[in-house]
């Protein structure tokens, strides 16, 4: 098990964002997390790389415990790449500089090697012609693909996608999902919080339905999407499908 989550509880003031989540993810597994807004999908992902600290419970990534107030947290973040809804590219750097920065200062790679790696990944996300563009010159879909390349450049074992298509114009959703699909074929472990049910069916090995900070149902797409056992899952799916 590459990710182990046990009895995870995360609170924001009085609001209980995660209420006892337990979850194991195998290496190479693609897990899509679905659920209504505010159900805790993002919070769960953010706990996995310690962007959010939690009240109680345990998160283990490849045998290392995640604790926010700990130096080892940087090591864990190296192994866990994250892509955000709002892209969060560095606006003062060009596309290739965005991808090179962390490789240089965190992975301590030479400029040459990080540049080469960057070019390679820009090829993968089909943006080789935008190397020297600034983020503001890109469309939303292009920005998100750069963000994916930037996260991949660190050679993470796990990739987290936090509603990466929610801020995109509809015509750009496809190009981003296509990239994620390619990664799934490469066997990278991925956790994807998403509202794209069609995409989930296509890419997921496993779908988890979360509501009110609890896992309601967990299983392969054929079960969760077509024959859900829980009434709450049925209700949710009838609203989004």
């Amino acid at each position: 098990m590459i990710i182990k989550v046990k009895d995870l509880v995360c609170k924001f003031g009085d609001i209980c964002a995660l209420d006892g989540i337990s979850l194991d993810v195998k290496k190479g597994e693609v897990v899509v997390i679905i659920g209504p807004s505010g159900s805790g999908k993002s919070t769960l992902l953010r706990c996995l790389n310690a962007l959010e600290s939690f009240e109680s419970g345990e998160v283990t990534i490849d045998g290392t415990k995640v604790v926010k107030e700990n130096k080892s947290v940087h090591k864990i973040r190296l192994e866990v790449g994250m892509v955000f809804q709002q892209f969060n590219l560095f606006p003062h750097l060009t596309v290739i500089e965005n991808i090179m920065l962390a490789q240089r200062i965190v992975r301590k790679r030479s400029a040459e090697i990080s540049r080469q790696k960057g070019m390679e990944l820009l090829g993968l996300v089909d943006l080789s012609d935008k190397i020297d563009a600034y983020p503001a010159q890109l469309s939303g879909g292009q920005k998100q693909r750069v963000a994916i390349a930037r996260a991949l450049a660190m050679d993470p074992m796990i990739m987290l996608f936090d509603e990466v298509t929610s801020a995109l114009d509809p015509e750009m959703v496809g190009e981003v999902l296509e990239v994620i699909n390619k990664l799934a074929d490469k066997g990278i472990t991925m956790l994807i919080a998403s509202h794209e049910i069609g995409f989930a069916r296509e890419v997921a090995h496993r779908i988890i339905f979360i509501e009110d900070g609890k896992i309601v149902e967990d299983g392969p797409p054929s079960v969760i999407l077509d024959n859900p056992k829980q009434q709450r899952t049925k209700d949710f799916l009838s609203k989004v499908l």
Binding site: N49, L51, H74, K75, R77, L78, V80, G81, M82, F84, Q86, N88, L89, F90, P91, H92, L101, A102, I105, V106, R107, Y134, P135, A136, Q137, A147, R150, A151, M154
Partner: protein, 227 residues
Amino acid sequence: MLDWLAEQIILHWDILQYLIPAIPVTVLITICSFSLAMVLGLIIGVMRISSIKLLSNFASIYINVIRGIPLLVQIFFIYFGLGKFLNLDRFTAGVLAVGICYSAYLAEIFRSGINAIARGQHEAAQALGMTRFQTLRHVIIPQSLRIVIPPIANEFIASLKDSSLVSIIGLREITRAGREYYSQYFVDFQTWVMVALIYLIMTLTLSRIVKYLERIYAVEGFGSKTR
């Protein structure tokens, strides 16, 4: 305008001859004290937003105390007060006083510049494994600096003008030179017009340079200006 200026320069050449050698002193005081203020201001500004209470409290007290005391009093304090123990010469004392005073204002500007950067930028950098320091150094501060160029330039121009205050401890910069000329020849009106003119030419030139800097440091689509 230019004709009038040329006429004045020829007419009052004897005054200018006296004042011009003092220009480098003003420039040097301004550059030295502002460099000090930039370094101190950035450090204090970062401390101000630190999550370590001790640091942020110290920075907060520093800013409030320094901003709450007139620069003239700070000059007296450093030259006559501290200078007695530390044996400071006029130049060092003047530079220290102006530098420390402006560092408090710059710290607040840096702080607001850093706070203006969206939370997502911190998170993206940290998610890539950067430490807090690396995040500030490579992601946040480079973006903040572009935001704070205009207010910092204002402070720079203000510090050039305020450098005239160090004339009080006998540093022979432009204002001091003006006073000396006046007390020798008793021409008051023309002397101070010339002194004012020199400051005005310097500050207007600086404003131009700042506009130019803003242009070359602009990143396409980032902030309000485009290349």
